[in-house]
Structures are given as structure tokens and as C-alpha cells.
């Protein structure tokens, strides 16, 4: 996986490395989460979906 890490402390731009590391496996009692892009399309609420369904029906 792609990750950002540091191996010593200091100012962020001087110590943070961007690179690849092995994707971890979930241990007992753990879950693995794929961190999702914040700009992803906002999922539609049930109310909004129902409204759009009504519009489609009228059309």
C-alpha cells in the first residue's frame, strides 16, 4: 500500500517519507479499513432517493 511515515522526529517536510509498504492483515479482533477519498460522491439519503424516484415517475 502507499503510505506516509517517519523514522525520526523533526519538522514534517524533513522527516516524512512517501512510499510503499506491505498492506497489513487484520489480526484477531481487528478490522482492516480501506481509507476512502474524502471527495467521493456523497451517497444519496433515502429521502433524496425517494424524491428522485417520484420525479422519474412523473416524467
Amino acid at each position: 500500500m502507499r503510505a506516509v511515515w517517519y523514522e525520526r522526529t523533526g519538522a514534517a517536510p524533513t522527516v516524512l517519507t512517501v512510499g510503499e509498504m506491505p498492506t497489513p492483515d487484520a489480526g484477531p479482533g481487528e478490522v482492516r479499513i480501506r481509507l476512502e477519498p474524502p471527495a467521493s460522491i456523497r451517497p444519496m439519503s433515502a429521502a433524496a432517493a425517494a424524491t428522485i424516484a417520484r420525479w422519474s415517475f412523473r416524467a
Partner: protein
Amino acid sequence: MIPNSDGAGIIDQLGEGVTRFAVGDRVWLFNGQRNGRAFGTAAEYITLADYLVTPLPQDVSFAAGATLGIPCMTAWCALFADGPVAGQTVLVTGGAGAVGHYAVQLAKWGGARVIATVSSQVKDVEARLGGADMVVNYRTEDVVAKVMAFTENRGVDRVIDVDFGGNLATTLKLMALNSTIAVYATNGNRTPTLPVRELMEKCITVRSLVLFALPPPLLAAAQADITKWLESGTRVHNIAGQFALAETADAHLAVEKGDKIGTVIVDCAR
């Protein structure tokens, strides 16, 4: 160490014995890089104990989910660890901050009258958007006079305090009898002198906390209540800035600069 402790995403793999979640569930998390865990959320994936993970309601975006984490959990615990706030007056210092803004919204939802202090006109608007009944600019206004007038000289029942030491002289003048100061930060003065006799005479409780040391049952109560709160209305999640994963250093500099309103988020897929 992979930095950053909060995040949101989709469950991708279950470890042995996990029954609370299914692959594909939308979730938010807190305390990722905490309590001895080296690997936080500045990565495409994180593995984490399931009790630190909470279902994310369908109509709450991943961006909003990523801002919840430690700020929202801290706000809930500071507010409700000592019982309900219905009918009480709550003062949130720094009412536009990451924790403070959630504290304002949660206190309103919990049935309190809410006063927020802020340091600028922009933050005044933010605190009002969160639902504050009165907002005081502590740089230009007399906080004690305004709070005492608002409470008809009774004072406030709870303070959710971002700077216990720095605010103490002011705070003591506006506390009601049998009130509580909940402290989650004290950067203005880390070693304040405590006038204990003054605290005693008003029967004031000082509740101090850091999220990672609170007991698991309290954290579970917080997660359950935050879910109810998310599901029962439209909430404000302030995003101060967004950076690609490779720009994590810039994201940290944006936080260190100290003038942000809300939470800086990192897009881990970019």
C-alpha cells in the same frame, strides 16, 4: 510511524472473532496512531481493534466521517461523562474549534442552552451555525459580564474548556454552584495555580480527560450516542483544507500554523 489518528473508509478484511462488522461496511475511526500503535491513517489501509471503529450512517460523507474521530469523541466525553446536560447552561470555550464546534452541536442536541466563546467574527458565525444561543468574542467583549447577564447571574453549569489554565481566572467568576469544568486542553498555562478554596465554595468539579485513557464502556456510549446524533439531523463538519496523501507534510504544516477553522483532511487514495 505512520502519523494521523482519525479517518473514514470501508471495511475490507475481518480479523478472527470480529462479528460487529461485515466487509463493505462504511465506518469512521478514532485513536488510529495512539496507545502504542505505530501505524495511523496516512496510508491506503489501516488495521485497528474493532471497538475503535464505528458505523458511518449512509448519508454522512467520508470527508465528514474523517473529521469526527478524536474531536467528536472528545467533545461527547467532555460533555456527557458527568451526566446529561438537558436544561443546563453549557459554556464552550473555543466554540469554533474542532472539538468546540462538535461540543456546541452535541450540547444543543442534548437539550442545553449553549454559550460559546470565540476570537473573531468568522468564528462567531461558525459557532452560531453550530447552534450556540449566545456567542462572546473574548478578545473584544467582557465574557464574565455577558455570561452572567445571559444566565441572570446564576452562572453556567458546565464549561467545556480548551484552555483550563489560560481561562481559569475568568472561568471561576462565571461558574454556578455545583458546576463542572471539563478540561480537554490547557496550552495557555499547563501548570496553573488552583484556588481550591474558591472551587470548594461553589462545589466545582474539575473533570480532566484525554480520550485514549477513558474507559472502554464510556467510549462505547459515546460512539452509540454520536451515531444517534448523526442520524437525527443535519450536522456541521468543518473541513479546513484537503491534501493528497503525498502532501501529508503540507497538511501537517497547515495544522501547525494554528489559524485553521475545522479539520484538515488527507485524501488517502490520491
